[in-house]
């Protein structure tokens, strides 16, 4: 390949690109051209929006584009696509699938959702019951998914389905890219504790998917799903922020600007949280430096666990600091938000929404099991569900 890409070279590349493309022009055209120039996600391969450059150099590019007032590809809205679908398609997809899906995913022309959880299969994701049955050169899908974030906006879904019930549960799964516009896909809003309907139930009735929409081999769905899940943990709580860039900044600002609210006990609490937030932020920096140097570690799981606990405690403290004023909620409308914004709304919203952080993307309990077994090497608990065929398991 070409010589290693440096920050300097990247900046010049961005400047060269900006010289030929008007940031104030057509949004989509601009984003597509940026993708084609390899300046979308620089660590992706050439031809797929990247330059095979170190991942740490991405901020160099993003900052340069932002400074030029270039359109944003709306990473928060496309979080599931960026964080989970894309790395999975890159790793397990065919050349045709990569070429078909990655560009519109990155430009946010096509939003993605994750069709994993089911009423009967949450933490025990390998237990999914949604069936995929061969139908000529395609598949027929029947089942029900639940808690599906953004399904109402999604063009595509990553789907885990059962292709063989007569083998042990991990062996009978296959991974699909589900066309959310296909006949038989029905999305129903599901309201959550915050009042809004960020996620959905998704009913799949006789949905026909071409075999080209299968990702990975038949029966290999669990291995593919593990790629998604690992990337999901890194994606949640792994954002690169400046000091006080996250929720702790909101709390710190309230503390600074509202001296009448202060008490010695809350002071110590605020300081403890400030220390933890800073420790987590530094952990993220160290993790990204390791990733960039090609030394990925299991620290992403630590980030997700610590992030969930921290957002919950910071937002809880914020409500208490504000006293009765902190109890005045903005509204309970059943909004269908286009993107999640923890900072934008009030303290009670933050406090409620943060409760989901230790459930979504795998609960903190399940993540602790994973850390204990895979990172620390502690023995698994005795299990009844791994030897028997899926169809014979109690449900």
């Amino acid at each position: 390949m070409a010589e290693p890409v440096t920050a300097q070279a990247l900046q010049e590349r961005v400047d060269g690109f900006l010289a030929g493309h008007d940031p104030a022009g057509d949004r989509l055209e601009f984003l597509r051209a940026r993708f084609d120039a390899g300046l979308a996600w620089v660590h992706y391969p050439v031809g797929l929006g990247g330059l095979g450059a170190p991942r740490v150099l991405q901020p160099v590019v993003d900052q340069r584009f932002a400074a030029a007032g270039a359109p944003d590809n709306s990473p928060r809205r496309i979080g599931i696509g960026l964080g989970m679908a894309a790395p999975t398609i890159l790793r397990h997809g065919t050349a045709a699938q990569r070429a078909r899906f990655l560009r519109p995913l990155w430009t946010a022309e096509e939003v993605w959702c994750q069709l994993f959880s089911e009423p009967g299969a949450g933490s025990d994701l390998a237990g999914v019951a949604t069936r995929a049955v061969r139908d000529g050169d395609g598949w027929l899908i029947d089942g029900q998914k639940v808690w599906t974030s953004m399904a109402h906006q999604a063009r595509w879904g990553i789907l885990l389905a059962r292709t063989d019930p007569a083998v042990p549960k991990h062996a009978g799964l296959t991974y699909f890219l589900c066309d959310m516009h296909a006949p038989g896909v029905e999305v129903r809003p599901l309201r959550q504790a915050t009042g809004e309907a960020e996620f959905n139930e998704v009913f799949l009735s006789g949905v026909r998917l071409d075999d080209e929409l299968r990702l990975g081999a038949v029966g290999e769905g669990w291995a593919v799903a593990r790629t998604t899940l690992m990337n999901e943990r890194v994606a949640i709580g792994g954002a690169a922020l400046p000091r006080e860039g996250g929720m702790i900044g909101v709390l710190a600002r309230t503390w600074r600007t509202r001296p009448e609210l202060r008490s010695p006990a809350l002071h110590d609490e605020v300081l403890r949280l400030w220390v933890r937030a800073e420790a987590l932020r530094l952990t993220g920096i160290r993790l990204r430096q390791q990733l960039a140097a090609g030394e990925p570690g299991p620290e992403g799981s630590a980030m997700k666990l610590a992030f969930a606990a921290l957002t919950q405690q910071i937002s809880g403290t914020e409500v208490e600091l504000l006293g009765a004023e902190g109890l005045r909620h903005d509204h309970w409308r059943a909004d269908r938000p286009a993107e999640l914004d923890l900072i934008g709304r009030g303290p009670t919203y933050r406090w409620l929404r943060a409760k989901g952080n230790s459930i979504e993307g795998g609960t903190s309990e399940v993540l602790r099991n994973i850390v204990a077994e895979r990172v620390l090497g502690l023995p698994a608990e005795p299990r009844q569900d791994t030897g028997a065929d899926w169809k014979d398991l109690p449900r």
């Binding site: 600074r256 202060r262 300081l271 933890r276 530094l282 993540l367 023995p379």
Partner: protein, 367 residues
């Protein structure tokens, strides 16, 4: 400036060689024996660390007899010393070295690089900015040279020090350990692997090292370095506690299963690991910030003590608890780690002290 929080390849090699050396020369049975003996520390191990390997003067400039490395390397040595609860006056001497480098005291640095122990004559719990310095008074001998009078209690690494660096009367003095009028009394210390001593001085002849702002700045730099470096020792200690506990829980069977397969224990260990991952980032950040003279060094050091001290204590407490009865015995090393962790959590300022420092640095005023 973004500080690099990873270990370099050279640092990993340094770690390997220090660990190998400590495995041979500081197995815990020996550590316990030294701790129980009247000796303040392990003189043989000290000779190995100072004279034979030059690890004590790692961060001292080459032209002064050191290795010309940085505090980031010293921190790696401290991780390993923490892992071994090694009974050597390394931390205190390293902090003294930092102060001497700050003052450009070449003669003392050369002695230090040659294996002499040096210690700051301050109570072990004095941290950066603020907590009161002890009141040692300065008078003048008929020939005009300074004399020191007063007491300093709970000095770490001071028993075998050849030279004591004494803050007094707004200045800094060097006092020879065998000076007339100086008495050092050992204290029965919680952490016998890093014993404390009390100093009493009656008209002790001293040499002025620095006065005024220069003295204050050097002392402050030493306190910041001490708080930052200690975090790496705490990290190493916590890592040993986690590793040892995991190994034990895999081998110990109760109720027909390895106890490590019980979720009640697995989750606690997973949480401990999560804290350790963060402690590593924080400790590396502090070491890098001090090594590079980063403007953030003071904040990084206080953050490190506010975070890593409590993590090490919890790791040691969990280690004792999850080992069950054996963990509570004198014959198991866990108690050495528990005592070291608690003592280190007070050293160079408690977590509460550092949170108060952070309140100022981060503009989070008290109620």
């Amino acid at each position: 400036m973004t500080l690099d929080l990873r270990y370099t390849e050279e640092q990993e090699q340094l770690r390997d060689s220090v660990r190998a050396m400590l495995t041979d020369h500081a197995p815990w049975a020996r550590v316990l024996k030294v701790a129980e003996s009247p000796e303040p520390d392990d003189a043989d191990l000290w000779r190995l660390l100072s004279v034979e390997t030059g690890l004590v003067a790692l961060a001292v400039p080459e032209h002064l007899g050191g290795a010309g490395a940085t505090v980031a390397e010293t921190a790696v040595v401290l991780e390993e010393l923490g892992r071994a609860v090694a009974p050597v006056p390394y931390l205190g001497t390293t902090v003294a070295a930092h102060l001497l480098v700050h003052l450009g005291e070449s003669d003392l640095l050369r002695e230090l690089a040659g294996g002499e122990v040096m210690a700051l004559a301050l109570p072990f719990d004095v941290g950066p900015t603020g907590s009161g310095l002890p009141g040692v008074e300065v008078s003048t001998a008929p020939d005009g040279s300074p004399l020191l009078n007063g007491t300093v209690s709970s000095v770490a690494d001071g028993l075998r020090a050849r030279v004591l660096l004494v803050p007094a009367g707004g200045a800094l003095f060097a006092v020879e350990a065998d000076a007339a009028g100086l008495r050092r009394s050992p204290v029965v210390s919680l952490d016998e692997t890093r014993p404390l001593c009390d100093l009493a001085m009656w008209n002790v002849p001293a040499r002025l090292l620095a006065a005024g702002d220069r003295a204050a700045a050097a002392l402050d730099a030493a306190a910041v370095a001490g708080a930052a470096l200690l975090a790496s020792e705490q990290l190493g200690l916590a890592q040993w506690c986690l590793d040892t506990t995991v190994a034990h829980l895999k081998a110990r069977y109760q109720f027909g299963r390895p106890v490590g397969s019980f979720q009640a224990l697995k989750h606690r260990l997973a949480d401990l690991w999560v804290e350790l991952v963060q402690a590593r980032a924080v400790a590396r950040h502090a070491a890098a910030a001090v090594a590079q003279g980063d403007p953030d060094a003071r904040l990084a050091a206080s953050l490190a003590q506010a975070h890593c001290g409590p993590v090490a204590v919890r790791a040691a407490e969990e280690c004792v608890q999850m080992h069950g009865g054996i963990g509570f015995t004198w014959e198991h090393p866990a108690h050495l780690y528990l005592k070291r962790a608690k003592s280190a959590a007070v050293a160079y300022g408690t977590a509460a002290h550092h949170r108060a420092v952070l309140a100022t640095l981060a503009d989070l005023a008290p109620a």
